[in-house]
Structures are given as structure tokens and as C-alpha cells.
Symmetry: C2
Subunit: 96 residues, 2 copies
DNA sequence: CATTTAACTTTCCACATCGGAAAGTAATAA
DNA sequence: TTATTACTTTCCGATGTGGAAAGTTAAATG
């Protein structure tokens, strides 16, 4: 029935990250962290999880101190997220 | 942003159970188990989790051997599931 | 070159959850 | 009393969780 729900995306924080990035193109660490309301370490770990799956593109921009990272969904990430949404729609019988 | 995703409902198997019950009114154990493709013990535990949250109504019907249980969403369960779907729609910007 | 600062990242920890196998329980029938 | 059916609970190892604290890294500054 739902072999399609993506376990990389489904957990709440990662779903939120993907949703934010899908709507925003690019976001930086601090904003993501504040939107999710989690600690640095938690966000970092979830971003790594998504990145390891190949779902992120990270652009580093020079800044005061260490460069800042801007996060966005990679092509794969976008595809996976759309597929996940499709699966949610099927499962939940959500109207498209 | 999404204080609304219900942790009782969100995990995949429980989401599937709720979705099935929301569409079917009433289902029995064996069918739920087969639809989810999980073992008896897994289904039993997830049903208990939902029941403990007050999200289920269980109707026992006499049958060969032990009575069979028919599972459905309680009023609370229906409300919670709808709220969860609303939250998903917001998060994912799913069209309603 | 050493130090500071900013921006993460990793480690550590204790705890929650996961799924499946196996064992247990309950209700009825034979 | 035993068998059958329908779950339920226990056991298990594996995985995931979040947050605090410690570590790393890149660039700027003294």
C-alpha cells in the first residue's frame, strides 16, 4: 500500500526541513534551527542525515568567521520530497 | 509552525492504520495486518498505542474460538487524524 | 604566527521506539 | 480437558531521539 513513504523524509524534523526548503529554495542554518525550534546539534544531525542521502545542496558563502552554509534541496531531494508527498496524498486520500 | 503534527499518529504504521480506518469505518485485525505487511505483534502494539491514546473503538464480535475484534477510529481519533492531516497540508503546502 | 570568533559538527548520554520471534493468555468449541 | 483462534506480552538487538558539552574549521584580527 505505501511502499513509497520515504523513511529519510518522514520523521518530523526532516519533513519540516524538506518542506521549508521546498518552499524557500535556500535557507541558512540559524533560520532553520529557529523554525524547527531545536538545538544546533539536532539540526546539524538531521541535515547530515539528509545530506548523506543526497537530498541537499549546500552552498558555502564567505562571512565573518567561518563561512555560512545555505541549504537547499538537491534535484534528488526535490524528487524524493515530491514522491513522499504523493505517497502521503495516497495514504491519506488527500485531494491533490 | 507545526506544533500540530500528532506524534501518536505520525509514525508510519500508525498513520497507515488511521488512514485505513478513516476510509473504512471498521476493519479486523488480520486485514489490517496484511495491509500493513507487519507481524501480529507489531500490529497489536501499534493498535494498543492508538487505543491508549483514546483513538480507537473496538467492537468484539463472537466468532469461532476467541471473539474477533473490529477496529475503528473513535470520535477523538477521527478528530486527531483530521487535525494531523491539516497539519500535513500546512507543512507541505498540499492543496486541499 | 597565535588568538578569537562564528558556525557548525561530533561525541556523549540516557532514554524511547522499532520490528519480529516466541511465549503467553483468553474465549469458545469440541 | 484439549484444541483452536485471536490476539497480547515479553524478550531481544538495533536504531533513533534530543540536548549539553566538547571539538573542529575557516577566516579575520592582533
Amino acid at each position: 500500500m505505501s511502499a513509497e513513504l520515504d523513511p529519510v523524509i518522514h520523521p518530523v524534523h526532516r519533513l519540516q526541513i524538506c518542506a521549508l526548503l521546498a518552499n524557500a529554495d535556500e535557507m541558512e542554518f540559524a533560520l532553520l534551527r529557529d523554525e524547527l525550534g531545536v538545538s544546533d546539534s539536532v539540526l546539524s544531525k538531521q541535515l547530515k542525515y539528509l545530506d548523506d542521502a543526497g537530498y541537499l545542496t549546500i552552498r558555502k558563502v564567505p562571512s565573518t568567521g567561518r563561512p555560512r552554509s545555505w541549504y537547499s534541496l538537491s534535484k534528488d531531494g526535490q524528487r524524493a520530497f515530491q514522491k513522499h508527498l504523493d505517497a502521503l496524498r495516497v495514504i491519506a486520500a488527500l485531494a491533490t
